[in-house]
């Protein structure tokens, strides 16, 4: 499989990265080079092989339903949450007006 300029433009849009036509033109051969190389995975016989789910066999731990059991992952930290906001106003994050 390979990509063309339209595909790269679509992927860039999906990934929300603004790209110029020149950038797209440069990326097409780069991405195609990488894609052609990863294509060799198709040679591997994977019949009956399950995709890896946990690199070290392990299962999910579940935590108790307690608010703020660990302050590092609890709420009530609005100042911290907003401390780096480019547009933090009145306790909110501001973004350009969205029309739904």
């Amino acid at each position: 499989m390979s990509v063309d300029t339209a595909t790269v433009a679509r992927i860039a849009s999906l990934a929300r990265i603004k790209v110029t036509d020149e950038e797209i033109a440069a990326m097409v051969p780069e991405l195609n080079g990488i894609l052609a190389w990863v294509e060799q995975l198709g040679e591997v016989n994977v019949e009956g092989i399950a995709p890896m789910t946990a690199v070290i066999p392990n299962q999910q731990r579940l935590r108790d339903d307690v608010v703020g059991a660990d302050p590092l992952t609890g709420g009530g930290v609005r100042d911290k949450v907003l401390s780096n906001a480019p547009a933090g106003e009145h306790g909110f994050f501001g973004v350009p007006k969205v029309i739904e």
Binding site: L31, G33, V44, A85
Partner: protein
Amino acid sequence: MTDLTDLGVAAIRAGVANGDFSATEVAGAFNTAVADAQPALNAFITLTPDKALEAAAAVDADRAAGKALGKMAGVPIGMKDLFATTGTKTTAASQILGNFVPPYESTVSQKLWDAGAGMLGKLNLDQFAMGSSNETSAFGNVISPWRREGDTAQLAPGGSSGGSSAAVSARIAPAATGTDTGGSIRQPAAFTGISGIKPTYGRCSRWGIVAFASSLDQAGPMARDVRDCAIMLEAMAGFDPKDSTSLDLPVPEWEANLNADLRGKKVGIPREYRMDGMDADVARAWDEGIAWLKDAGAEIVDINLAHTKYALPAYYIIAPAEASSNLARYDGVRYGLRDLPQGAGLQDMYAATRAAGFGAEVKRRILMGTYVLSAGFYDAYYTQAQKVRTLISRDFMDAFQTVDVILAPTAPTAAFGLGEMVSDPLAMYLNDVFAVPASLAGLPAMSVPAGLDRQGLPLGLQLIGRPFDEQGVLDAGLAIEARAGFTARPAKWW
């Protein structure tokens, strides 16, 4: 008095504990060395001399008060700028986090401070840890302290933990944290003649480390020798309930149990790693390594890791796929860079912010990852890669039925010059061909210095162990270290 910056972790800790010198003196000496080297090496993004002194003063006070000292007491270290540090800028070497000041501390860095370490500064790295030469940082290249014999060309310190490897090998930090997703601790360690270990996936908490590829990222220490790595890994590792993939296991006493006597151990030599056109010096170093381990009492066994050649392509699907999703949060809404062109809507703001904030390699990987996950391609790429990953892991498990540890080169060549590879992403990716398989299988793996190549540059040997068997890896590393007699260090030209 000895030059304090010549000392490693164990020596500093012992000297501080014995009162041979104070932690404050150590911090001062390294602060000076850092400031002195920074213009030439650019190993750091942010310098924090006050943090180093503050931690040192606390250790000195504890010692004066007769309190017990931690595993890293009095040791100032460099912190890769991927670990969130409260109140100190954490950038991941990207413009998109250029002004980000975390209101929280990563679990691993907190453990190190709790163990008595201090912070010299935040180390440079490849942007979001994506790269093998530290040339993708938004804050400039790191220059390796190493030079080829009779040559002043700037060399790569390896990547992504290039600031860490440069700082430790230049003796401006006794040790540094690294993170390893597909070789980012081991390859830079090999390039700069130091030691570094990536523990079993899940040993070190990922909480508070800027994520690249979640199923692969692991933190680990980079230091001058194996013992220092063992000490520092003990301080970094441990169960963290905040990380679902953290291993709920006690931290072994790796340092106390170090043992270079390998009698009764079997060391596997994977045929598939001996690739066509292998660098002659690398092949020679590998052969020497085999001889050293034999000398240490180990039995050498040839093994097959049949799917080795597929590891790198599988990695370059899985890691970008995870990264494309992990990096979606950098959108200019809650923190970091915001680029809001006149009249732009929300989605335009995202696209402009991410275009301005991410570097070329990061964009390349996000696009790759987006593509392989997109409708119609997911199974062909991502699912196939995860199946191949299962096979790669199985190859290792089969081999570990027979052998205790695997020996291989860390990287296919010694350090290359800055700018030599940047125009060819694929050639750059191939740097990690020997490092990536252990990452995909989540195995503990370490690089130790083996000697110099014909140009006078360091070469590393890699040891790969069973899951949870960091001890076996460290022990074999120690056996090599004892025999390699690696004492070379870069001449101070800065």
